[in-house]
């Protein structure tokens, strides 16, 4: 009976929407931890509230996604910088006179973002490297075949050379 009154009092809906006071919030959390009925009711209400807000959802402008990602990146760098600031303060003070003040950025993912001009630059470098490789191989084989030809001619000349004086005598 007490549970029914509590479940129908509206406090659970208010709690899920963040409309209750701190005391009421703690009370709901305490009761939900001990009472499975309240916990089940909370889960059901969560789904209903989620469904309601999803049905009335408005998509933000697509360009806003990039602004949010940019802002998150800025915040991450700032946060990381603040955390590391205290640790490296002593180290920095020793080195700051010699080196410029760079910010070390720690990236969790394995992807990097580069300027779009890197793609044609990479393709150009790749094609040029292939051309130079082919040219290198061509001239290598050409020079080795020429060397073989020279050696062959030398051998022929050496073979022919001792007979010449005899013929002249």
């Amino acid at each position: 009976m007490k549970n029914y009154q509590y479940l129908t009092s509206g406090i659970l809906e208010s709690y899920l929407l963040g409309l209750v006071s701190e005391d009421e919030k703690q009370e709901v959390e305490r009761l939900a931890a001990t009472d499975p009925e309240i916990q089940a009711q909370l889960q059901e209400l969560e789904l209903d509230i989620e469904r309601h807000f999803l049905e009335n959802a408005v998509p933000p402008p697509p360009a806003l996604k990039y602004t949010i990602l940019e802002q998150i990146n800025k915040t991450e760098i700032k946060k990381w910088g603040t955390e590391k600031d205290d640790q490296s303060k002593q180290k920095d003070s020793d080195k700051s006179s010699d080196k410029p003040n760079y910010i070390d950025v720690e990236v969790d993912d394995t992807h990097i973002r580069v300027h779009k001009y890197w793609r044609p630059a990479f393709i150009a470098v790749f094609v040029l490297s292939k051309i130079f490789l082919i040219l290198g191989l061509y001239y290598y084989f050409k020079s080795s075949s020429l060397e073989q030809e020279i050696n062959r001619l030398k051998a022929t000349t050496e073979q022919a050379a001792p007979t010449l004086p005899k013929q002249t005598q």
């Binding site: 129908t8 009092s9 509206g10 406090i11 809906e13 208010s14 899920l16 929407l17 963040g18 409309l19 209750v20 006071s21 959390e29 889960q43 209400l45 969560e46 209903d48 509230i49 989620e50 309601h52 807000f53 999803l54 009335n56 959802a57 408005v58 998509p59 933000p60 402008p61 806003l64 602004t67 949010i68 802002q71 998150i72 800025k74 915040t75 946060k79």
Partner: protein
């Protein structure tokens, strides 16, 4: 979902977008989503509301400026009206109950009835 909630509270799209960016860049969102006790959707709803109310408060100082009169409200719309005052405008439930001359329990029950009405297929 978060943008829809923010727009309910801040009708100006520019301010609403500002609030959305600020919401997703805030450290609280990480904490809320990491917490195992809360559902992520409800955590985002609460945070989006709090952020929108903050932005609204700073931009227009609307809270406490005008409290709509009860005479405009029909009995059938009481739940919706209380929900709007509480969720969208940021008034506290005891203050709403006092101004509407109803008990705190009735104010919360009206909210519940409004949600029951919304849940109807």
């Amino acid at each position: 979902m978060a943008y829809g909630i923010i727009l309910q509270i801040i009708p100006d799209p520019n301010l609403a977008q500002q609030a959305l960016v600020s919401l997703f860049a805030s450290p609280q969102i990480e904490q809320c989503l990491a917490s195992p006790s809360n559902s992520p959707a409800c955590a985002i709803i609460r945070l989006a509301r709090a952020k929108a109310l903050d932005v609204n408060r700073v931009s227009s100082s609307a809270i406490g400026a005008v409290f709509p009169e009860q005479s405009h409200v029909e009995d059938g719309n009481m739940g919706k009206y209380i929900f709007d005052l509480s969720f969208n405008q940021g008034y506290e439930l005891p203050a709403i109950a006092e101004r509407l001359k109803i008990s705190y329990v009735d104010a919360m029950k009206s909210m519940r009835d409004y949600f029951k009405y919304l849940r109807r297929p």
